[in-house]
């Protein structure tokens, strides 16, 4: 048999919203069949009567507590629940107020300002985030892989129309005002400006200039496809304008993977009209390698060319022979440069980023003959981090290549700087030692970095040398040594 309890609390007040909450809390108390705590307004009196309660006379400034209980014994608990709920309603619960982080690039720029956005979301979403930056009048650097080329073109056109610069995609290197963005080396300030349609190509130039004691004003990565026919050098042109307008820049160098010839010609023509001299280091068959280009640049600057550093004991051919050069790269441009050099003397090189389509390597990455693999290519980074961050795949492959009796020489690169692994030699040096323990195969490494890099150039190079590798700062020099070892020529 249910019991009703109705009491009027004159002068007690809580707002209607709080009282709805109180009513709900009290109704959830065991033994309570129905509960309504409300100010005795006309509407609420009607509601209470509708629930079957009989009310004494009350004014709108009175609070009504109306309870229907399973039996009398539930009353004290129910009233305690009313008081607790009313107290809770008055007090509220002020948790620590935390401002949630922004959810879009546009929101982040609205909140905190800023003059640059870094975008590294999956490629399908990169344009959307980058457009937030361009809408806010801010330059953007895109690290994302797999950005559709038509989207790259669309955002670069919009950026050009607004006087803004899109750096990237797929060229994660820049140095702006001494700050390294993405994969970038720590360099001294100076007078050289770099426009890079190649990330590791840029890093090679930074490393060599650093070794020659030449500082850098800025390096602007414009995306690996910027000098392709599809993009037409839009960001390269903007970057040239920016560097030309910067009074600290006295000499500019443009570095790129093999460009579209007509685009390269157009950009060279454009650069000829600028005040600041521009040197082009564009890779391609019959073109100078990057080290040669840096040496020419040093000549432009009137700086003596140093002897490029090397570490370790000169490698010798393995007693177990082998005929093939096997290159395992994390840097696409370094791989390109090595293939271009090696093809001149060794003939066709098969690769996952082949110099011509007929030289494409199948997905096993294990064919006969000279092979060079770019582990940083989009095809090998789907679903995993770039090999400059996660070396697992390349280390596994190193063991396979070393065990292959056809392998005469292993050629590798190691790229240091911001963004790269904290200590690449920690994984690679033991792997090289293990590989050499199998067949005594010579390992030549290009270790691209600067003395001020977080990983420390000398420390890394020395660790690799201690594991039995012959280490060079210049990728071209390392490649030439590897070719010589394949050909059986002594140093």
């Amino acid at each position: 048999m249910t019991v009703e309890h109705v009491e009027i609390r004159p002068g007690a007040y809580a707002d209607s919203v709080a009282l709805l909450q109180v009513s709900r809390d009290v109704a959830a108390t065991p033994g309570v069949a129905a509960a309504q705590v409300a100010m005795a307004t006309e509407l609420n009196v009607e509601v209470l009567q509708g629930m079957g309660f009989t009310l004494p006379a009350a004014s709108t400034n009175d609070m009504v507590v109306a309870l229907r209980l399973d039996d009398e014994s539930a009353l004290s608990a129910a009233l305690a629940a009313v008081d607790a709920a009313l107290a809770a309603a008055r007090k509220g619960s002020s948790g620590g107020e935390v401002t949630a982080p922004p959810r879009t690039t546009g929101s982040a720029l609205r909140r905190a300002g800023g003059d640059l956005a870094l975008v590294s979301v999956p490629g399908a979403s990169a344009l959307v985030e980058a457009m937030d930056a361009l809408d806010a009048g801010v330059d953007v650097m895109i690290f994302s892989d797999n950005v559709p080329v038509e989207q790259e073109l669309a955002m670069k056109r919009i950026a050009r129309d607004r006087g803004l610069l899109v750096m990237g995609p797929d060229c994660g290197t820049a140095v702006v005002g001494g700050v390294g963005l993405g994969f970038a080396n720590t360099v001294s300030p100076g007078s050289v400006g770099i426009v890079a349609a190649s990330g590791t190509g840029c890093q090679q130039i930074l490393a060599l200039l650093d070794a020659a004691g030449v500082g850098v004003a800025a390096a602007l990565g414009v995306g690996g496809r910027d000098l392709s026919a599809a993009i037409g050098g839009i960001s390269t042109t903007t970057a040239l304008d920016r560097l030309d307008a910067d009074p600290t820049v006295e000499q500019v160098v443009v570095v790129s993977k093999p460009p579209a010839a007509e685009v390269a010609a157009a950009v060279e023509k454009y650069a000829a009209g600028l005040t600041t001299p521009v040197r082009f280091a564009l890779l391609g068959a019959g073109q100078p390698d990057l080290t040669t280009q840096v040496e020419a640049l040093l000549g432009d600057l009137g700086v003596a060319v140093p002897s490029w550093p090397t570490w370790g004991t000169p490698a010798v051919r393995s007693a177990s022979g082998g005929t093939a050069l096997r290159g395992l790269f994390v840097g696409g441009t370094l791989c390109d440069e090595a293939m271009l050099l090696a093809a001149e003397t060794l003939g066709p090189i098969r690769s996952n980023i082949p110099l011509s389509p007929d030289l494409a390597l199948d997905s096993s990455l294990l064919e006969s003959g000279h092979l060079m693999i770019d582990f940083g290519d989009d095809g090998l980074t789907r679903g995993r981090a770039h090999p400059m961050i996660d070396p697992t795949l390349r280390l596994e492959h190193l063991a396979k290549v070393a065990a292959d009796p056809e392998t005469a020489v292993v050629l590798m690169d190691v790229v240091l700087g911001h963004g790269a692994e904290d200590d690449p030699a920690a994984g690679l040096a033991p792997a090289i030692a293990a590989a050499r323990a199998i067949r005594d195969v010579p390992v030549v490494v290009a270790c691209v970095g600067t003395s001020a890099d977080p990983q420390g150039l000398a420390r890394q190079a020395e660790a690799l040398a201690a594991a039995g590798a012959e280490v060079h700062l210049s990728n071209a020099a390392a490649t030439r040594r590897a070719i010589a070892l394949v050909n059986g020529v002594a140093r």
Partner: protein, 470 residues
């Protein structure tokens, strides 16, 4: 050229989205970094988002749509019958939300239509109106939004009902809304009992003419300014309109007293308006619509210009897609219930009142009215967080509607379809809940969001139009 665009100048600050290592590397070099909490967009929207983002019209279109909206001054200029204002004829009924036919209409919408049919004398007993509407003969249904009007809850307007008239003096454009009946058993919640019809008749015969006379005499009342003040006074102008109601009364009281009506009738009108904390809602809504209508039809704009529900469907309209509705099933509100009512008694979301959220107040301005958050058992920090969160999906802010506790940041303004699809954050709406059975009336109040699916649908149409223009 700013110094920031000199490549040798150090960036003052950087925004970073995606892999944290890039942000960390920059932060390690002592450059301030604002990190974005990025999540993948709503399923299947990545391509359309890119298409719309790259639309050369979009940025300026959105800026234009927002500035047009913010330029509107909504002045209350009159009160008159719908027959005069809209040319509404006997048998023509307006309703809330996107278009709907009787067969799909929810209980509260049916109840309100039945009550309105009796009020107009089409039937003697409201119950007899079911057959009339089912036959479709001599009656027609049309959304309020198609007639420059808005209506709370069922939003039913019939020719004899008196309406507020809001006007933008710069353009002469107008919007309309019926007079608020109060809470409890009222037509807009689907109740149609004798007391409901009696009240409607009194509003037609006494309140409407009295207000018409008073507003004409008082001269235009600045509803936009009152809305700004309300936010300073604990209202969010959807579920709390106390301050707004009092300010309206304050502005028109002298003229009300001077009307030709008897002292008794004037006193009744005062008591009715003063006793109805929601009276101003029906001024706030058309004021919001007047502003949002100015943002309509800007090609390329992704800004939402209307959110409305008919109790069955939730629909949005977008500036860049004309009058097209994008609809999905209206959701059940999460909230608190009156008396013995519970979730099973509630009808899905209904009413044009989400025009307030579309304009940046209501649920978007919860921080201004923290009490509202208790509708879902939330806390004051929840209210602050909600108002801040809405800024993630809006294009701009309204400096005429500042929120004190957010350091006077303007109300989040201009919901961006793209931002909703990118973040998955849905607009937050404060709402009353109607009983699902015709005739019941209000059963509670709470918080609700639109169905997520309508935003990708609107985005797809925006993308289609972008591609057609290319």
């Amino acid at each position: 050229m700013t110094t920031a665009s000199l490549p040798s100048a150090t960036p003052a600050a950087v925004a970073a989205v995606g892999a944290d290592m890039f942000a960390t590397a920059v932060a390690d070099q002592a450059v301030p970094v604002e990190r974005v909490d990025w999540t993948p967009p709503m399923d299947g929207t990545a391509d359309d988002l890119a298409t719309v983002a790259a639309d050369p019209l979009r940025r300026d279109a959105n800026a234009l749509a927002v500035s047009r909206m913010l330029d509107v001054q909504a002045m209350l200029v009159g009160v008159a019958p719908a027959s005069e204002l809209l040319g509404l004829e006997k048998g023509q009924f307006l309703h809330a939300g996107p278009p709907i036919e009787w067969a799909r209409a929810s209980g509260p919408l049916r109840g309100a239509l039945m009550g309105a049919a009796a009020f107009e004398g089409l039937v003697e007993d409201p119950e007899d109106a079911e057959a009339l509407f089912a036959s479709g003969a001599e009656v027609s249904l049309e959304p309020c939004h198609h007639r420059s009007a808005v209506g709370p809850m069922a939003g039913v307007v019939s020719p004899s009902m008196w309406m507020f008239v809001l006007e933008d003096p710069a353009t002469g454009r107008r919007t309309y809304c019926s007079l608020n009946e109060g809470l409890g058993k009222v037509l807009r919640y689907g109740a149609y009992g004798p007391e409901v019809l009696e009240r409607l008749r009194w509003m037609r015969d006494v309140l409407g003419p009295l207000l018409g006379e008073a507003v004409s005499a008082a001269g235009p009342v600045d509803a936009t300014a009152i809305l700004g003040q309300m936010l300073q006074m604990g209202d969010e102008a959807h579920n709390r309109n106390r301050a707004g109601t009092l300010m309206l009364l304050r502005d028109i009281a002298p003229s009300l007293v001077r009307t030709s009506r008897s002292t008794e009738e004037i006193a009744e009108a005062f008591a009715f308006m003063g006793g109805n904390d929601h009276f101003f809602l029906n001024v706030a809504m058309p004021a919001c619509k007047l502003a949002l209508d100015a943002a309509r039809d800007v090609p390329g704009s992704t800004m939402v210009v209307a959110m409305a529900r008919n109790g069955t469907d939730f629909g949005i309209q977008v500036s860049g897609t004309g009058d097209q509705w994008f609809t999905g099933p209206a959701q059940l509100a999460d909230g608190l219930f009156l008396g013995d009512y519970g979730p099973d008694d509630a009808n899905p979301d209904i009413g044009d009142s989400a025009i307030t959220e579309t304009a940046g107040i209501g649920g978007f301005a919860m921080a201004a009215a923290p009490a509202i958050v208790r509708f879902v058992g939330g806390t004051v920090p929840d209210a602050l967080a909600t108002s801040r969160r809405m800024r993630e999906i809006t294009i701009s802010e309204n400096n005429r509607w500042p929120i004190p506790v957010l350091d006077f940041a303007g109300a989040a303004t201009g919901i961006d379809v793209s931002s909703v699809c990118r973040t998955g954050i849905l607009p937050q709406i404060n709402t009353g809940m109607a009983g699902k059975v015709a005739g019941v009336g209000q059963v509670g109040a709470g918080l609700v969001t639109p169905p997520a699916s309508i935003f990708p649908a609107a985005l797809a149409e925006l993308a289609r139009r972008t591609r057609d223009r290319a």
